[in-house]
């Protein structure tokens, strides 16, 4: 069974149709890049996957079940900004997810449990190259480091799906290519299923194993809100199961 199924999925805001006729299936381990013009519903689509917005029509199935209508630990997310908690150190940010699951009420653990979580968090920080910054606060980090931290934080929960909303959009070109290598490595190591929104077509082609293009097919000049965007291209890329990390 595919991990994720979209059956005639639609999203409306009142009279305005934003997305319509979305029909795709996504297998576990795919890296799906989503490109499209501004305002064509890419973020709305991501929000439906995340559970912050509900589909208006059709079905959105995760493992054959309707996707929960609230964010939960099955779906990790990295936003363009504000993904990390400013009041926690780097280590605290990464430990937070495990603290939530091991302390039902306080969300805070001490002693032996804490040491175990800390070790796991430090191992994760080493994977994203932040082991030397673990006692810093997010405001002391560069933009690229903050996004690394957000990735590490999300990966601690081993999410079924990882959602990235223009995660590298605010970064310098040099930092961005570093992040491309990192995300490729993490994708393969953790066997992740990734959805990534991007404005950069080249980024989509070089990173993903599958590229979705969102666009409006039909346009009525007298009623611009009558038709929504849909998936106009669904391109399988030849990185489906790469064995070597590629330099983007």
């Amino acid at each position: 069974m595919p991990l994720l199924q979209l059956k005639n999925l639609e999203k409306h805001y009142g009279q305005q149709v934003v997305l319509e006729r979305l029909n795709i299936e996504v297998e576990e381990g795919e890296f799906v890049a989503i490109v499209g013009a501004s305002g064509c519903g890419k973020t709305t689509f991501l929000n439906m996957l995340l559970g912050t917005e509900a589909p208006s029509k059709g079905q959105l199935l995760l493992d054959g079940e309707p996707i929960p209508d609230e964010p939960d630990a099955h779906r990790g997310v990295v936003f363009q900004r504000y993904s990390v908690f400013p009041h926690l150190t780097v280590l605290g940010n990464v430990m937070l997810g495990d603290e939530f699951s091991s302390a039902r009420w306080l969300g805070r653990v001490w002693g032996k449990k804490r040491r175990a979580i800390r070790q796991r968090a430090q191992a994760m920080l080493a994977q994203v190259g932040l082991e030397l910054a673990q006692n810093k606060y997010p405001h002391q980090l560069s933009g690229g480091m903050q996004q690394r931290l957000a990735l590490a934080q999300a990966l601690m929960k081993q999410p079924r799906i990882l959602l990235l909303d223009e995660p590298f959009g605010a970064l310098d070109p040099g930092i961005r290519s570093e992040m491309h290598q990192l995300i490729t490595r993490l994708w393969q190591q953790h066997n992740l299923t990734i959805f990534m929104i991007t404005h950069d077509l080249k980024e989509g082609f070089s990173l993903a194993s599958r590229l979705l293009v969102f666009d409006k097919l039909r346009h009525d000049p007298h009623a611009p809100e009558a038709w929504g965007a849909t998936i106009t291209y669904d391109l399988p890329l030849d990185r489906a199961q790469p064995s070597e990390p590629q330099v983007a």
Partner: protein, 270 residues
Amino acid sequence: MRKLINYQPLPLGRLLLGILPLLALLLVYLFASDARLSLNAADKLLPGFNVMGDAISRMAFQPSPRTGEYLLWSDTAASLLRLLCGVAISALLALALGLFTGALPVVRAVLAPLVTLFALVPPLAILPILFICFGLGEVSKVVLIVIGITPLITRDLQLQVQKIPREQLVKAQTLGAHSAQILWRVILPQLMPRLLDAVRLSLASAWLFLIAAEAIAATEGLGYRIFLMRRYLAMDVILPYVAWIALLAFLLDLLLRLISRRCWPWYHAK
């Protein structure tokens, strides 16, 4: 020459510039006081610094002939106790109210109108009600401060909670948090430094309510003493008392600022 808008005084220069108007004010006072005293040596309106010094030493370092207390210190202790009780109770109440009304839309729907209503009632207008309900003792003064500043702090904190980016709350949920964990680990820690900021801002109002309550019904306290001394035109006591209150207010503010900087370095680094 640089544009004035780009001109930054050096740190030491800035300090000296700040002291300048204070010195000017002091000089003006000295001249005016001197002028009046040369006309009438018994003038009480603008006493010289020597007379004020005598008054301070009488209030602070000599026991009162009537009660045997050192009045400045007993007044200060009484006033500070009332003020700190009132402010502490307000801070706790407002923290709980602000946290829940800000973070939980259901609680906000229930309580926000009530808080807004309380914020609109001028606290001094209900002082008589407090005196009737709680008597003329300490309780009514503390309650006046609580009623006066809690709504202000609450509304401020509620807005601050709502300003926390939505992304953070979503992110916390994707890390597996439920509502209580989000309140406790994500929102509350970010609210604490803002609570201290809000308390600092509301201290001025708290002093106002304290002095007002003491002026009307009290047997000791800084506000009581000032209003008592007014009957004797004892400016030599009133002026040092006012300066002392200002100093206390400044020190309290400084203390809160230092606590905030020490406990929440991430908040001040932005």
